[in-house]
């Protein structure tokens, strides 16, 4: 049975494409959940949970879960797998949020408005 660490290369690739703005993230009804649909019917859903965890789920076109990855902020008690997954998941969630809410553009606009005041 594959462990979550097997999916780290895929998550890293998704993160890279997100940094390059080559994938589209969309907001959802839940403020802390963002979705990204790729050609071929693959959907990624990244989430920040109430207890500050980060979760990434990949589903196929039939809605079946391919993998689900969940990590909490590392501390001395968390295991190595969790710590390894936290960093990409945290960055992915933050970048997905920035992309979905168009934060960079809005910050620039606000900055320009403030300059004109």
């Amino acid at each position: 049975m594959p462990s979550n660490s097997d999916f780290i290369p895929l998550v890293t690739k998704l993160l890279t494409r997100t940094r390059e703005n080559k994938v589209v993230w969309k907001g959802t009804y839940e403020a802390d959940i963002f979705v990204c649909v790729l050609e071929g019917g693959f959907t990624f859903q990244v989430e920040k949970g109430a207890s500050n965890f980060r979760k990434l789920e990949m589903t196929d076109s039939a809605g079946a879960t391919i993998f689900r990855m969940r990590a909490v902020e590392p501390d001395p008690e968390t295991d190595r797998d969790n710590d390894q997954q936290w960093e990409p998941l945290e960055e992915l969630w933050e970048r997905a949020r920035r992309a979905a809410l168009d934060i960079d553009k809005k910050v620039n606009e606000a900055s320009k408005i403030l300059d004109q005041i």
Partner: protein, 196 residues
């Protein structure tokens, strides 16, 4: 074998329907034809004509068969498209009902319809994969993901906490309905175009 004949030879030319000289016995067709050039050319003309007619009939049969196959294939495609249009219409109806429950703050009913919607969307996506254009697949899958988030949120957190949340919920639900309605509409339009 001796053949009866009623012909005569005039200056060396054979006349009449049977051009064999009296007393000539025909051993084979080849011998007969070599002995009778007029018959041979007549036979060749008939054989040639029959061959051409036969070839023409074969070509015509092939064309008709191909046309019949094409018509049958088109009829099957039209039925398939009609079925797909009906299925997407049903999905759009479920989405509409879901939206109605959301508008009325009927969370339980909305959750049930959201589940129905997701199940129907999943089946339709697999069944009619070839009838969803690539540029609509992403919107369709995104609608599915959005409904999934809404369904989970409504069932765990209950109705929207404030007007702003409800506005967001309605906006997304409208968008989902639009995506599904568009697919059904496009398919019905294609069905009608084919009928014309």
């Amino acid at each position: 074998m001796t053949h009866e004949h009623s012909h005569s030879s005039q200056n060396g030319a054979w006349v009449g329907t049977d051009c064999r000289p009296a007393g000539v016995e025909i051993q084979s067709n080849e011998a007969y034809h070599s002995a009778c050039p007029q018959k041979k050319s007549m036979f060749d003309i008939i054989a040639g004509t029959a061959g051409i007619v036969g070839l023409g009939l074969t070509v015509w049969t092939l064309i008709v068969a191909k046309q019949a196959r094409t018509a049958a294939r088109e009829a099957r495609a039209a039925i398939r498209m009609d079925n797909a249009a009906e299925e997407f219409k049903k999905i759009a109806v479920i989405a509409n009902e879901f939206l109605g429950h959301v508008e009325m703050d009927q969370v339980d009913s909305a959750c049930v319809r959201a589940r129905d919607l997701m199940a129907a969307m999943s089946v339709a996506a697999q069944r009619w994969k070839s009838l969803i254009p690539e540029d609509e697949v992403i919107a369709y899958d995104e609608a599915y993901a959005q409904i999934g988030v809404i369904s989970r949120s409504l069932s765990t957190n209950g109705p929207p906490e404030n007007a702003q949340q409800k506005q967001k919920l309605l906006k997304i639900s409208h968008s989902v309905l639009e995506t599904l309605g568009k697919r059904a509409g496009t398919l019905f339009s294609e069905v009608e175009t084919r009928k014309d």
